[in-house]
Symmetry: none
Subunit: 144 residues, 4 copies
Amino acid sequence: MHLEINPRDRKPAYLQIVDQIKMGVASGRLQPRDPLPSIRQLAERLRINRNTVDKAYRELDRQRVIRTERGRGAFIAESNPVDEDGFRDRVLSDVIDRLIAKARAFRVSDDEVLDLVQKRLAGGEASDDLDEQRSRSEGKHAKD
Amino acid sequence: MHLEINPRDRKPAYLQIVDQIKMGVASGRLQPRDPLPSIRQLAERLRINRNTVDKAYRELDRQRVIRTERGRGAFIAESNPVDEDGFRDRVLSDVIDRLIAKARAFRVSDDEVLDLVQKRLAGGEASDDLDEQRSRSEGKHAKD
Amino acid sequence: MHLEINPRDRKPAYLQIVDQIKMGVASGRLQPRDPLPSIRQLAERLRINRNTVDKAYRELDRQRVIRTERGRGAFIAESNPVDEDGFRDRVLSDVIDRLIAKARAFRVSDDEVLDLVQKRLAGGEASDDLDEQRSRSEGKHAKD
Amino acid sequence: MHLEINPRDRKPAYLQIVDQIKMGVASGRLQPRDPLPSIRQLAERLRINRNTVDKAYRELDRQRVIRTERGRGAFIAESNPVDEDGFRDRVLSDVIDRLIAKARAFRVSDDEVLDLVQKRLAGGEASDDLDEQRSRSEGKHAKD
DNA sequence: GTGGTCTAGACCACG
DNA sequence: GTGGTCTAGACCACA
């Protein structure tokens, strides 16, 4: 699975990893028992400190998203909280609410919003990137 | 204009001010030459330190969103970057792209996406709050 | 005489006036006994506070550049410090030194510096504007 | 790299740092990826407050001259605005234009200007100091 | 260790 | 009154 760290993102590196893994699980790309890269490997690949990856794995373990076994590595957990308790719905309705809030702030009509979404869906340009929990104010279109 | 600080937000207070002002300009609530509250006043109103407001105003001035004059106060700038080069479009298409990216990751069909948006628009629950640039990982769906 | 205030300049408004008047005297545009605009007039023309103009005139009076007479107005002084004590030389050698310092920092050879100056003199594009004591970091080519 | 703060300069300390770093980049003394001293170190070395250095680094980061990473430090940015869009040219032609404007105001002939520059270049007294963006009205020719 | 943020309080100069 | 700057010190989270 592809993972990416944006050091300029306000969101800490370890949380970027956590969120990307969770999205991977929620999307089905990562299946129970799938092995995760070793801490050392991932740290090297992402060019970040081992402690950072370690922290991410700890957090994922704490959330029962993954299960780490000493000496064997880390794996996607069997029964995963991300697959239950409406993770997908929350993620989607959250971003939809943000869309609506902004549209309202700009006095964009509901019809226009739907139209924009439709056009963009049709355009098919939106990336499939899973790294999308990223903090705004540092997005690709930084406002500055 | 109404301004609000959420101390529980991961986003720092000074950035919350910056984003709310920018959204205010983008939405037309704030017009060129409109005076902003003085640093001292705003600090008192928001119950935060003067330096924090100063940091926000300085950042806005730097981005040419406002213009501050020594001894006179701060004003919305005449020609405003927020009114040009598609600030609104960027903000909207940004959040739309994120919606689509997540929907795709979840294998949600386009029709279903449109349906979800439509329902939410109809529901009318989404707040009109201008503070919407808030950092993720601290929204209602905290990291756990 | 043309006077101009740049409110974005780090240099305070009253000093901008002082320096422009002094340049006017040094250049010969302003001659002894020439009347200056009244404080009210100048304040109105420059769209600044009367106190600011007042402060500038006080400073000029203190430096014996002008002489103010109650009820009659302000005039360029008869014998002017600006015409003595090497004001012109200081102004010129100061700006020449700054040119050289920057050229050295950029590793620009002496010949090249002379060449650049010569070309620019020939080009004849440099403005004749007297307002030139302005603080850098706010010049026409703001570095930001 | 050598950095120096002149507390007598009208220009605030944090801007002196900003300008010196930018000149360092423009002159090639500082190369992409070069690490900057840590905020704490530099503050101690310059005998100023940590927040002041922080302000300078923040400003440089904003201008994309440096890149700062949480917990790791600050580095000269890869692609640097100071290396592009004619920063050197602007700085030089700015100061040349000011020289010419003043010379014209004083009715100094072009030949004389060249002569003065040449003499000063030969004299070799001009400092190589990178801190040259200093605010006027506080240079060696104070306002009086 | 690092940078990020915030507070409290101070002094200054400008308007 | 205003903004501009700086200090001292604190707490936090990240690497």
